[in-house]
């Protein structure tokens, strides 16, 4: 008989994979992208191509420079590009878009080691960087402006359902985020725009809060992350546009992740 592999147990693996995770999440975004293309027209198309193409291009270049094997096929960078396109204003000038993409892909992803190693959400960081350094360029994106329009709102809900069906996220995390966000928006005077807030809350809960790489490592921790992120988003919403409030709140909570991980270990109720 020939010599067989003697790798350690287990000898079978689930069919899940990193690439499947990111590509399926990107696929779930399809209804939102379709609705935003329909609403935002050519400007958004341009943004989408720039952001997604730019992300892939920057990763390829960055990996080439550092002589590492490219990870384009795992879909992580593509998802970053899609997300960035959805949270940047569709008419942002080309240099600003490229700066945001560069910050997201090269500085946040690649400099920290690529997929799985970054400490803040890359797309959100790209957006926040633009907000902080070039405030004039960073208005509200078309998705957030038109979230109250029925086709866009329906598309957001449809995308959310697609992603929920993939069973990648804890149901109660989404529930906590959306409830607290809407409650805060309502109590802080956003009652007249409640549909817009609902659309933003659902999109944020499903597609921004739930990037696993920068989430805590327990169910309880993830729930606490979502609760606090929603609370901060609601409070910041008093002074800033929804997109800015949402992005800053998530970035703030990204900073707390190591602390949450240490305090909320599996099987313990320490710190709750």
């Amino acid at each position: 008989m020939t010599a067989y592999s003697v790798a350690s147990a287990p000898h079978i693996r689930s069919a899940d994979s990193v690439a499947r995770y990111f590509w399926m999440k990107s696929a779930a975004l399809f209804p939102v992208l379709a609705a935003v293309i329909w609403t935002g027209g050519g400007d958004f198309m341009r943004m989408l191509v720039l952001s997604a193409g730019g992300s892939l291009g920057f990763e390829w270049l960055s990996r080439g420079f550092s002589r590492k094997k490219t990870t384009l096929l795992n879909g992580d960078t593509f998802l970053t590009g899609l997300t960035l396109a959805l949270i940047l204003p569709e008419r942002a000038p080309l240099p600003y878009v490229l700066i945001a993409v560069f910050m997201a892909v090269v500085v946040v992803r690649e400099c920290f080691g690529g997929t799985g190693n970054y400490i803040v959400h890359p797309a959100i960081f790209g957006r926040v960087f633009l907000d902080a350094v070039f405030p004039v360029s960073a208005g509200s994106p078309v998705l957030f402006r038109c979230a109250a329009e029925l086709p866009v709102f329906a598309a957001i809900v449809l995308s959310a359902v697609f992603f929920l069906a993939q069973r990648r996220i804890y149901f109660e995390t989404l529930f906590y985020y959306i409830t607290i966000y809407l409650l805060a928006a309502f109590m802080l005077g956003g009652g007249s725009k409640i549909l817009m807030h609902a659309g933003v809350a659902v999109f944020t809960a499903f597609f921004l809060v739930t990037d696993p790489v920068v989430l805590p490592l327990t169910r309880q921790g993830t729930n606490v992350f979502a609760l606090l992120a929603a609370f901060f988003a609601g409070v910041l919403g008093l002074w800033y546009p929804a997109v800015t409030a949402v992005c800053y709140s998530i970035l703030i909570m990204n900073m707390f992740v190591p602390w949450i991980n240490d305090r909320m270990r599996p099987g313990s109720r320490r710190g709750i």
């Binding site: 008989m1 000898h11 490592l217 169910r219």
Partner: protein, 422 residues
């Protein structure tokens, strides 16, 4: 349910074919160990011709169990030099082609079996070389001879959560009364109060069969309980709730071996083994003598359909991959699997994306991700802070990991690092 996974069962292929006792085994090679590393001495000489069931080795002292040959044939002692002395490491029994391996005449059923005192039962277990048929493979008399107050319940573990493996299920379905009688012997030997049969909820027919047999025998000290068919329930005696407290957890095949030892005076030299996997031509359960090689076991199932990626002794979750077919079936071997590349092939490792799947799946509520990320950097003290020593090494974290990280290897590395103080 958190802390467990319902694995694809893949049991139907081995259940299609009936349990069979092959009579064409020509060679066994039995290592001289008895459960733990007890010193064993050959009870036969080179060239001796022995019968099936003959004693071939005796342990030093009272703790070990003797070994018996599962086939009739000619003895060859395999020796090697250790500390300047020749030490026997294996005993080979080879049957010439004209040797008949058909079953000898069945001994008379012992009539007073139900009246034997516990001391005598334990002595029978020791003399007949009974070992537990789980991963421990320890002498049975050692497991149940604790002080009588410690074992209140005998738990007969009928759970087989690993895919492909059906040896316990087939044995219980084929010989339910014998297994029950064996369990009663174990109860009396351990002076326990009751016996609980654990059957997976996916095996409804087996559960009803055992329940009906208990009802027919009118043994009110017996009960059957269903447990969810989730991994790792039942493996290495990992059981829910209070079941393991003050209990001796034993497999149904151990109960059957106890029945045969007491009622039929039969030494322990064979067990039911599932020979399966997609590469096996005729997957089925077989009575195999201890010491038969994996290659021969596969041949008894008409060989291989195609070249496997892995040969595994045990289930696909916890079994040990073999480099060739020379490994042998022992008391704790419940399965021999030949799995193809598409099932057991190795995938490239990707970086951890912190998806929490391993944390959610861990049945003992650890954080495999934190433990293994620390172990990767040789920070074993951090792994210890995350309680790596409590890991039961069920392999679920590796199974669910989308990044295909070698979690179990890293956990073993961390445990070793802590043990050696590096």
């Amino acid at each position: 349910m958190s802390g467990s996974v319902r694995l694809e069962r893949k049991k139907s292929s081995t259940l299609l074919n009936t349990l069979k006792r092959p009579h064409t085994v020509k060679k066994v090679r039995i290592p001289l160990t008895s459960g733990e590393e007890t010193l064993m001495f050959p009870a036969v000489k080179n060239g001796d011709v022995i019968e099936r069931g003959a004693k071939i080795a005796s342990p030093e002292g009272e703790q070990g169990s003797p070994l018996f040959s599962g086939i009739a044939g000619k003895v060859k002692l395999v020796e090697r030099t250790k500390n300047g002395n020749m030490v026997c490491t294996h005993i080979e029994v080879t049957a010439p082609n004209d040797f008949c391996q058909t079953a000898s005449v069945l001994p008379e059923l012992r009539k007073d079996a139900e009246k034997l005192p516990c001391r005598e039962l334990r002595s029978i277990f020791r003399e007949r070389g009974l070992l537990t048929t789980d991963g421990r493979a320890e002498p049975l008399h050692k497991i149940i001879s604790g002080s009588p107050s410690t074992i209140k319940t005998i738990v007969i573990n009928g759970c087989e959560p690993e895919p492909y493996v059906t040896s316990e299920q087939v044995l219980m379905t084929s010989y339910p009364t014998e297994v029950l009688r064996g369990a009663e012997i174990l109860r009396r030997a351990a002076e326990a109060e009751k016996v609980i049969f654990l059957i997976e909820d996916a095996e409804r027919e087996l559960f009803e069969l055992i329940k009906s047999k208990i009802y027919l025998l009118k043994w009110d000290r017996f009960e059957a309980q269903k447990v969810p068919a989730i991994y790792p329930m039942g493996t290495d005696n990992f059981l829910p709730g209070q079941l393991s407290i003050n209990s001796a957890v034993l497999n149904a095949s151990t109960a059957y071996a106890a029945y045969e030892a007491v009622y039929l005076h039969k030494p322990f030299f064979e067990r039911v083994v599932t020979v399966g996997g997609e590469c096996v031509a005729e997957p089925r359960n077989l009575w195999l003598p201890l010491g038969i090689s994996i290659r021969d076991a596969l041949q008894l199932c008409k060989g291989l359909l195609r070249e496997p990626a892995k040969l595994i002794v045990g289930g696909p979750m916890k079994g040990v991959a073999q480099k060739d077919g020379e490994g042998v079936v022992m008391a704790g071997t419940d399965a021999v699997l030949a799995l193809p590349k598409e099932i057991a092939g190795e995938s490239a490792e990707k970086p951890c994306i912190r998806c929490n799947r391993c944390v959610d799946a861990c049945p003992v509520f650890l954080s495999p991700v934190m433990i293994t990320l620390a172990a990767e950097k040789n920070s074993f003290e951090v792994s210890r802070e995350w309680n790596v020593e409590a890991c039961i090494e069920c392999g679920l974290c590796s199974f669910v990991c989308p990044s295909k990280r070698p979690m179990l290897e890293l956990i073993a590395k961390a445990k070793k690092g802590i043990a050696t103080g590096s």
